[in-house]
Symmetry: C2
Amino acid sequence: MTAVTRPGGRTAAVRDAVLRAAADLLVESGLEGLELAAVAERAEVGKSTVYRRWGSVPALVADLLVDMADTSSRRPATGSLSTDLLAAAKLIRRTLTDPRQGPLFKAIIATATCDPTTAHALAAFYRKRVDEVSHVVTAAVDRGEAPDGVDAREVIRHLSAPLYYRFLTDTAPISAADVRRSVALTMAGVQAGVFGP
Amino acid sequence: MTAVTRPGGRTAAVRDAVLRAAADLLVESGLEGLELAAVAERAEVGKSTVYRRWGSVPALVADLLVDMADTSSRRPATGSLSTDLLAAAKLIRRTLTDPRQGPLFKAIIATATCDPTTAHALAAFYRKRVDEVSHVVTAAVDRGEAPDGVDAREVIRHLSAPLYYRFLTDTAPISAADVRRSVALTMAGVQAGVFGP
């Protein structure tokens, strides 16, 4: 078999269409609305292609998370740790309160609670995202703004946690005050040596 | 109609059986396994009773949360803020890593992401639980261990958040180190004035 698939060509276009359709269905009706046949129809792609390439809903959600991780790598670089953390926390707030991204994250996190494949893909997604943002902490260490040996990933995880806790356990939206408090708490923790060394 | 229902009598027994059956089904198969007919069968209660009294799955989950809030009011009182917070964080870890409670919370939080009735009941549950635990902070204010005017509820929310973030976005279990770090961070925040006044 000689597959004619140049990079970024038809194969990539099919994947884009399928992942977009999967995200649309998750946003509109949650995990229950996500079936491979419906994804294929919405993406205007042959059902057999979707079944052959992704095989199952969890595998499709896992690939969606890989794609989301690849396309979400903006790093703040404002020159100071507190303003970098503020930029990162604001981006989390913007993402989770976005009318499309918010429901998409909720649907994926809900799926992860009951499906191990999605749970692993989601954990990998957050590891990658946290790794990317944690560079603001290592840059702060280089500038002497944070102690050498600080656990940069844990700093970013604790910056994110209060915003996700609001997102998932409360009906009140994530506020600007939530963002500022999370940054202030994380900075206090860095200064008090909570994240090491 | 003269209903013969003494307090704690048959009505309470029916509710206990129905809520226990609902929790069992949520633990075993998540929201998808929760149907009123299945709950009635498992609880050995007439279907019509369950339909008449709860009416819908979201209403049943909401009542389950009311019951969970009523029966979970242990307050730490060790005499110092940091050990009270440690006791509270340990209880959260114990609950979320419990083989029954953990999956139950995951199923309810997942349900809340896609159902407004459950979301409101869940938010009310956490408001009540956070309120109860926040007495350790007001007691610390009375002892002069924390500044007057500190937002006790936000202290407890930020103590809980990293543990829930681990629970919902990571496959690694909540560790004893996670508990200690969350307490240390919260204490650093109280001392730095992050939670007011």
